[in-house]
């Protein structure tokens, strides 16, 4: 059984707390991604699980055993580094078998494991080459091979795709997912790229300033973010935040965005936000894909309005538009033939069925 549990884990450097009390339970076979901006403590947490950093407080359990004082080699883990960390003077086969050779595994067993891993990662022809003869993607696969061969309880990935170019990154993401499907080892994966988090994870852990902001499946985080940070971090282009206030107008609850613009809330939302004080400073959170060109027919919850566009970015499949609204710069996505032009006005519609309301002061999603 290879569950990983973190109980109130804290990491202190002198007086600074890099990790401030993390509680996390990872189930056997689960692929969990720790994601967040640089400095949020995700790498430090990973290194504490690996045993490369001492734990200042709290406990880490692997497979049910407390491993706080257990050295890395006895934790039965394997790690893939951002810079691959391949031994430059050894061949690919020697790199992959180093750990096994240190533990005096029989030669036949080592060979069998290397063959299996090489086949899985499609690096069989590279077996006798040295790292400097390999490309970045190949090196990363060898690094993964080195981890697979050990057959550990947990795989740890420390931003493994950051050094690759964009196209290669997409390819390697698929490789990693395929390997996980085959090998099913519990995996803890650290990245700052929310796309990697969304595409690879069973569950995503969003971290910020040493704390966990939210844990959930990719879908949960996307559609139901708990805080402003999670809402703005997940999804690209990022969610729009427009200052607004609730008001009662004509018997119905509506949000006022500016002197001229106020939208009535859809019934489900109106019920939910009824209790909120009308004087609170609020933010309307709406994703760009829910700010589109107005269509001919009306739909419940979709409110049209006019805006003058600042800049347009034609992406081929869609066009991104940017316009100001009540002091915020808003991003929307319109179809490429909606007639969007720099500096020109356009009739847009906002889908309030997918809106979020945030308290500007606390950052919580209401």
């Amino acid at each position: 059984m290879a569950e990983v549990s973190l109980r109130k884990v804290v990491k202190r450097y002198d007086e600074v707390e890099a990790v401030r009390g993390i509680d996390l339970d990872i189930a056997d076979h689960e692929f969990v991604v720790l994601v967040g901006p640089s400095g949020c403590g995700k790498s430090t947490t990973l290194r504490m699980i690996a045993g490369l950093e001492d734990i200042s407080d709290g406990d880490i359990l692997i497979g049910g055993d407390v491993v706080n004082d257990v050295p890395p080699k006895d934790r039965d883990i394997a790690m893939v580094f951002q810079n691959y960390a391949l031994y430059p003077h050894m061949t690919v086969a020697e790199n992959m078998s180093f750990g096994l050779r240190l533990k005096r595994y029989p030669k036949a067993e080592i060979k069998a494991r290397i063959d299996e891993a090489a086949r899985m990662l499609d690096i069989k022809e590279l077996i006798d080459r040295k790292p400097k003869q390999l490309s970045g993607g190949q090196r990363q696969r060898v690094a993964m091979g080195r981890a697979i061969v050990r057959n550990p309880k947990v795989f740890l990935f420390d931003e493994p795709l950051s050094n690759l170019d964009a196209k290669l990154r997409v390819q390697m993401r698929i490789e990693i997912k395929k390997v996980h499907q085959k090998v099913r080892t519990t995996t803890v994966y650290v990245t700052h790229d929310q796309v990697e988090a969304m595409t690879l994870a069973d569950r995503v852990v969003v971290m910020n300033h040493g704390r966990i902001e939210q844990i959930g499946t990719p879908n949960e985080l996307y559609h139901n973010p708990a805080t402003r940070f999670v809402a703005s971090f997940i999804g690209s282009p990022a969610m729009n935040f427009i200052p607004c206030q609730l008001e009662d107008g004509g018997g119905k609850l509506q949000i006022r965005l500016s002197d001229k613009i106020a939208f009535p809330l859809p019934p489900a939302r109106a019920a939910r936000y009824q209790k909120i004080a009308r004087t609170d400073k609020l933010l309307l959170g709406i994703r760009p894909e829910h700010v589109t060109e107005a269509s001919a027919h009306t739909e419940p919850g979709v409110e049209p309005f006019d805006a003058v566009l600042d800049v347009t970015e034609p992406m081929g499949m869609e066009t991104l538009i940017y316009f100001p609204l009540h002091g915020a710069q808003v991003c929307g996505r319109v179809s490429p033939n909606a007639g969007a032009q720099d500096g020109a006005p356009l009739r847009l519609a906002v889908d309030l069925n997918n809106m979020h309301l945030l308290n500007e002061v606390t950052g919580a999603v209401l």
Binding site: A50, G51, L102
Partner: protein
Amino acid sequence: MTTMTIDKAGPTRKVKYGSISRDRAWALRWSYFFLVIFVIFFLTPPVYMLITSLKSSAEISAATNPWWVFHPTLDNYVSLLTSNQFLRFFWNSAIVSILVVSITMLISVPAAFALSRMRFWGSTILGTGVFLTYLIPETLLFIPLFKMFAVIGDWTGIQLINRWYVLLFIYPTLTVPFCTWIMIGYFASIPKELDEAAIIDGASWFQTLTRIFIPVALPGLIAATIFAFTVSWAQFLYPLVFTTSTDQLVMPVGIITTLIRGDVFNWGQIMTGALLGAAPPLIIYAFLMDYYIAGLTAGATKG
């Protein structure tokens, strides 16, 4: 948009227009010209050593053109290479140098590893200390060391003065600090992730050193070895102080004290001896020049 007025007065210094490639060609010619002059300056003594070594005593005392050999002879070489005494000097130098190199590496490499990779109490102090001891010259230490070894010899009854193996203790003081410094530089340039990968793979510190660091830093090791050998081979002061009997002498001291007898200077033989004495470092240099230079510059550019 405001317009900017541009000063149309033109350059105030007399400007020379010439094609860049022509200037570059002249710079190149001057460079080669001066380089040839410097090379002549630097290579004259060794070349002259070779020339003289091929002359017989008769030709030398005849005072003909010293820059040319009219009747080349290998007599000097033959007489030296068949002289037991000379061969003894060579042997002593070789043994001392090889042993000192081994001792130096055995001390420097683990110490460099510990200092560059493992933080322990006082490691930064020790690191600077190693650097600073290099600033204490041998010419300050030779007198107290002489007295120290004489005293120890009296106490323990082990003869320490006038024995070649004393040099095995003393030479490392010259080679170890710089070799440690070179190795620290090379070890420090190995990325930290390599250590961590090794730790996770299950290597102990010793295994990390021997199976990862030493192979990866091999060029540094070679450079340090060459440095240690060259310094040991060339030593003059310490052996002069600590060894006096002919059978204990190393090459530099041996040549100078035995070949220069009274007023009769057998310069043909002396130059032959000097050339043979300079041969091992020169041969190593000819084959391993890049490591040689890497060792020198490693200290400075990495430090």
